[in-house]
């Protein structure tokens, strides 16, 4: 007894009793089969509701740039720029976003309390249009890096839009530089509240600018 047959007869307005006669079976069996089918439909519907088509957005309306260490000589950066910030920059520069030259500026901030101007050295990487991430390579191991995403102004200067977190490139060989030796000794004395080396995680709070 196929459910399709039952459905076809129901469609024609047959009662369960008539269908049973037509298909040479009992009313109970027809009803059971029919109910089962209805249940199945319900279940499928439920499943469908929970079965979202997975969506991985290509970008977010946020302003943020992040660095992650990949190797002693490379760090990975990715960023989001909101349309609001793009507009702000267009307003400031009186140029269309696509007309602006985008760059990342890579600062070596090893053991520096970086203020935007006091890096040991920096270099720029030209970023093509429609790019939201970059693998920065050929770096020196055991250094601290911060990057800014910025644009080139009409006057040729670099205007920073976003600043990243700081990240250390890992050490590769026996630590001959001894950058952290004093910091570890200081920390062991227990007289400091915070260590002098970089700890790689941010504290994020939603109301961060509300005091």
């Amino acid at each position: 007894m196929l459910i399709e047959e039952i459905l076809a007869l129901r469609e024609k307005g047959y009662s369960f009793r008539k269908i049973a006669i037509e298909l040479d079976t009992t009313v109970g069996k027809v009803q059971y089969r029919y109910q089962k089918h209805r249940q199945q439909l319900e279940e499928n519907k439920e499943n469908d509701e929970m079965n979202f088509t997975p969506i991985v957005p290509s970008s977010y309306e946020r302003d943020e740039i992040t660095l992650l260490p990949q190797s002693p000589t490379s760090i990975y950066s990715f960023w989001e720029i909101s349309s609001s910030l793009r507009q702000t920059i267009e307003h400031q520069t009186r140029l269309q976003w696509h007309e602006l030259t985008k760059k990342i500026r890579v600062y070596d901030c090893t053991m520096v309390d970086f203020n935007g101007h006091n890096a040991h050295r920096f270099f720029d990487i030209h970023i093509p249009e429609m790019t939201n991430n970059w693998m920065i390579s050929d770096l020196e191991p055991n250094r601290t890096f911060i990057i800014d995403l910025g644009i080139q102004t009409r006057q040729g200067s670099f205007l920073s839009l976003l600043r990243s977190n700081a990240i250390d490139t890992p050490r590769t060989e026996k630590a001959t530089q001894g950058l952290h030796v004093e910091a570890v000794n200081q920390w062991k004395t227990g007289n400091q509240n915070e260590p002098q080396w970089l700890e790689h995680f941010s504290t994020y709070s939603y109301y961060e600018t509300v005091k």
């Binding site: 929970m50 979202f52 088509t53 997975p54 991985v56 957005p57 977010y60 302003d63 992040t66 992650l68 260490p69 990949q70 190797s71 990975y76 990715f78 609001s84 910030l85 507009q87 702000t88 920059i89 307003h91 400031q92 520069t93 203020n115 935007g116 991430n133 693998m135 055991n142 102004t153 006057q155 200067s157 205007l159 920073s160 839009l161 250390d168 890992p170 050490r171 060989e173 026996k174 630590a175 001894g178 950058l179 030796v181 570890v184 000794n185 062991k188 260590p195 080396w197 970089l198 790689h200 995680f201 941010s202 504290t203 994020y204 709070s205 939603y206 109301y207 600018t209 509300v210 005091k211």
Partner: protein
């Protein structure tokens, strides 16, 4: 006497592959691990009488799946089905070797089934028993095996740690002391969180310790403390490679079972169909008939006896290698030399079929030859003897760093991982007092985040097989996270809906979502809600605010903001950062926020302003998460970009006050910078709903320069706070003689007209008049003026003081006989008001706002701008007519008090705000 200790560590982990629907391919990963690794390992461990032979880390996904009744039933089905297949194999077997092999498998599966049922289908009981008997030590790892150095926030790392510990405790009855770092991935700071959560030790790759700073005295021969006190056990590379090296490792021996020759690929389709995947895909059955044989494609049959022989030989070889290491390094003390070899548990049995038996033999044969130790026992004995060192980022993966988990194939993941983390912090802050139902939504979001960030997905994407599954699983959990978030935020929470979500992936029943609630947000939530009686919440933007005083703008905004607070408004002033002053303070009721741009020392002023505006905008958008503003009140072009951006993003009306124009200051636009500034001024007046200027003069200027509609403009004069002008009552710091003194204060720029004063002084000196000018203020022209005074020998008649304190300035106002403001251009002239308020006769240029304040010979005197003769005439008039001088001063003071007081101005400003909010029409009704 040489001494050394050996510690074997296994890490059991698989991603959470439990699906609601039956028969998913990936579920087999777990079944194979149970069949080939976990149960055979149990057999070996149950054989031994010794203690401390092994440390096993169980990841929470493995714990949750092994304890899951649905999984247990499905596993039993899997075993029964395999037994059925073996029954068919028996009939198929022809040679003696084949028959022996099939009966080996039949016996083995019988034993597996018995073991499984013997432990009530939950083999965790078996491991717990061994743990309690101290044969083994059990620990755990991050909740979903997240690659911790690529997790963004402390809270998220903490969540991975805390939930794992909780899960472990549920299954083992106590907290773990050790913690396996997924992929042995460590970075500075992770140690801190682990220690805070009560963890004592973990494992790192050898190079992490070899490259530590300071260099550990025992190299990798002993563990070290991380700076925060986590004990790090380095992996022993030489010994480990005996097992995992693909070329030289034991598993590659010719007599061991060949991993890639499963009968699934060798039998007829109709024969094998019921035992592989429903959808008609040939997948491993676990029954493999061949041995590795050699390099060629042709493989010979697997012979158990030969394999068993090799197990013995390789166990001996390994023990010999350990003894060799002790020979070489065993002089080390204290602590004594330690060798730790951590491996993936599934390597033994699943990949290397004979691996568990090899472990059994190493333990058995090793009992009388070497010292086994667990990290815990070793710590208990030697914790005082470890060095402390800084460890940099490292892993046990390819190249030793992050190459496997961040490359072109998987780098896209982290953008989403991090976004989910910040979303979690956001929703727990927004729902700081959740209902029970809302709480389940929050917990579900944490669960989906966890399942999305398993390092497995990145690892699989890096490799060749199941790549599609990894992408799908990641996308699935990301979407489920987002849908749950949307439902929660939109307020459509439903018991049935969230229940179905929970049932899809029943991972970790208990979750503490509050870990994501930052202490700062918690603090903000405890603060009382803003006083409801306040009328309007005003966001005032001004690049200068005390203590930063470049021109009169700073004082104006200071006075206005205080006056608005007095009128009952909430006022937030967002201004630029000043070194040594707080980023946020409440100054006389005014909330002051001081912002630093990303480039606070930008060489170009226009860039500096841009940098400031970008940061101000970002700051205010976040500030608005808690503070509801009613209106923006922007002062001058320097904050125009922010004002416009905020107007758009927060949908707020904008009121602008234009204090001066670039056109007016320079008598036209002559340079590129001036052009840019002029543009910014125009944009601000264009974007503003209403514009306030301080004088009719300025109104005319805006109407002309920017062609503004007149009805958008309002004139509100500047005010003066008479209290602030009270002279210093203590000891006088300035000279005190009876000379007739004319005082002025202003910025030393050309348009303020002090050149006229110098020239007039020369004239008066010629005429031998005993009149002296004292001028306070700094600016670019100061040096030139001072030099001129010296060169022309006018010291007796003019003094340029440069910068003076407010107290000193007030003293001069009090001490002088008259004041003078000789500007060429002056939109308003607040300093003239201060002269009036000080009760002194005041001379002003007949220009700009000044011209509107002073009525000649009624409340002061006027001079022709830039006219030396005119200036001298007016000064001499005051000098020679003391009674008129007094009368002018008295009237001036009266006018200031009535027209230019801040209460009046605040009320007028209030009217303009209301007009912005409701439009003109409603008000005129």
């Amino acid at each position: 006497m040489k001494e050394g200790y050996y510690s074997l560590v296994l890490h059991a982990h698989l991603p959470y592959v439990r699906h609601k629907e039956e028969g998913r391919l990936e579920e087999r990963w777990l079944f194979e691990a149970i069949t080939e690794s976990y149960i055979p390992l149990l057999w070996e461990l149950n054989e031994t009488e010794s203690k401390d032979v092994l440390t096993i880390s169980f990841s929470p996904p493995v714990l949750e799946m092994l304890a899951d009744p649905t999984i247990q039933e499905r596993y039993l089905d899997y075993i029964i089905k395999t037994e059925e297949l073996l029954g068919k194999e028996k009939k198929l077997a022809e040679t003696k070797e084949e028959k022996d092999l099939v009966s080996f498998y039949i016996n083995r599966y019988q034993k597996i089934k018995n073991t499984f049922i013997g432990y009530n289908k939950n083999i965790l009981y078996a491991f717990r028993e061994l743990f309690e008997k101290r044969v083994i030590t059990c620990i755990t790892c991050a909740a979903t095996h997240a690659f911790l150095p690529y997790v963004k926030t402390k809270s998220a790392i903490r969540s991975q740690v805390v939930e794992a510990i909780r899960c472990f405790e549920q299954h083992f009855g106590k907290k773990p002391r050790g913690f396996w770092l997924p992929e042995c991935a460590i970075a500075p700071g992770i140690d801190r969180i682990l220690v805070e959560e009560g963890i004592t030790y973990t494992f790192v790759d050898e190079h992490a310790v070899l490259n530590a700073e300071p260099v550990p005295s025992k190299g990798s021969g002993a563990p070290v403390y991380s700076p925060h006190g986590l004990i790090l056990f380095p992996r022993h590379t030489t010994l480990s490679s005996k097992v995992w090296s693909s070329t030289l490792g034991y598993p590659g021996d010719v007599d061991y079972r060949e991993f890639y020759r499963d009968i699934a690929y060798e039998r007829e389709w109709d024969y094998i169909k019921p035992y592989v995947h429903e959808d008609g895909i040939r997948i491993d059955t676990g029954i493999k008939h061949k041995r590795i044989t050699g390099e060629g494609e042709e493989k010979a049959i697997y012979v158990r006896k030969w394999a068993e022989g090799k197990i013995q030989a390789h166990a001996d070889h390994f023990l010999y290698a350990i003894e060799n290491e002790i020979n070489e390094h065993g002089d080390q003390c204290y602590p004594p030399y330690l060798m730790v070899t951590p491996f993936d548990a599934e390597l033994f049995g699943h990949w290397w079929f004979e691996g568990p038996e090899w472990i059994g033999q190493v333990i058995k044969k090793g009992q009388n030859r070497i010292h086994f130790v667990t990290p815990e026992s070793y710590i208990d004995r030697h914790y005082q003897d470890f060095d402390t060192s800084h460890i940099s980022f490292s892993t046990w993966g390819r190249e030793g760093y992050g190459d496997v988990w961040i490359n072109e194939k998987n780098q896209y993941l982290y953008r989403h991982h991090h976004r989910m983390e910040t979303d979690l912090a956001t929703v727990v802050a927004l729902f700081s007092n959740p209902t029970d139902l809302e709480k389940r939504y929050l917990k579900q979001m944490v669960r989906e985040w966890m399942l999305a960030v398993s390092s497995d997905w990145a690892f699989i994407m890096d490799g060749q097989s199941a790549v599609q599954y990894a992408h799908e699983r990641f996308a699935t959990h990301l979407s489920r996270f987002d849908v749950t978030k949307e439902k929660l935020l939109s307020g459509s929470v439903q018991d049935e809906w969230i229940l179905r979500m929970e049932q899809c992936y029943p991972f970790l029943r208990e979750i503490d979502e509050q870990i994501f609630f930052s202490p700062h947000d918690a603090y903000i939530q405890t603060k009382e809600e803003a006083d409801q009686e306040q009328k309007r919440s005003i966001l005032m933007l001004s690049w200068e605010f005390p203590p930063m005083m470049v021109g009169g703008l700073s004082r104006h905004v200071f006075d206005l903001s205080r006056a608005m607070v007095k009128e009952g408004h909430e006022v937030h002033v967002v201004t630029s950062h000043v070194a040594g002053y707080p980023d946020y303070e409440i100054n006389q009721g005014v909330h002051v926020h001081r912002i630093k741009g990303l480039q606070p020392e930008a060489a170009n002023f226009f860039d500096w302003v841009g940098s400031l505006n970008i940061e101000m905008t970002r700051y205010i958008e976040k500030l608005a998460r808690k503070t509801q503003f009613d209106i923006i009140h922007a002062h001058d072009w320097l904050v125009g970009v922010t004002a416009t951006a905020i107007k758009r993003s927060l949908q707020l009306p904008l009121l602008a006050t234009i204090h001066a124009t670039e056109h007016g200051r320079n008598n036209g636009i002559h340079s590129e910078l001036q052009y840019e500034i002029n543009q910014k001024e125009w944009e601000l007046t264009y974007e503003a709903d209403r514009v306030i200027v301080c004088s009719d003069y300025m109104k005319e200027e805006l109407l002309t320069i920017f062609s503004m509609p007149e009805e958008k403009l309002a004139v509100i004069p500047n005010g003066v706070d008479i209290d602030l002008l009270r002279p210093y009552t203590g000891l006088s710091t300035i000279e005190n003689n009876n000379e007739f003194t004319v005082f002025s204060v202003g910025r030393m720029v050309k348009e303020k007209g002090y050149q006229t004063v110098i020239d007039a002084a020369a004239l008066l000196k010629e005429r031998n008049e005993k009149i002296r000018f004292v001028i306070a203020g700094k600016g670019p022209m100061l040096q030139a003026y001072q030099q001129q005074v010296a060169e022309r020998q006018l010291d007796s008649h003019v003094t340029f003081l440069g910068f003076v304190s407010d107290e000193e300035r007030n003293e001069w106002f009090s001490r002088c006989d008259a004041t003078i403001f000789p500007s060429y251009y002056e939109p308003f002239g607040i300093v003239a008001l201060e002269g009036l308020a000080a009760g002194k006769a005041t001379i002003v240029s007949d220009t700009g706002g000044l011209a509107g304040i002073i009525r000649h010979e009624e409340n002061g005197l006027k001079m022709i701008p830039g006219d030396v003769q005119s200036l001298a005439t007016q000064v001499l008039y005051l000098y020679n007519h003391p009674i008129s001088r007094e009368a002018l001063a008295t009237q001036g003071l009266r006018d200031v008090k009535s027209q230019f007081n801040w209460e009046t101005i605040a009320k007028q400003t209030e009217d303009e705000i209301e007009k912005c909010l409701f439009g003109e029409l409603e008000l005129t009704i």
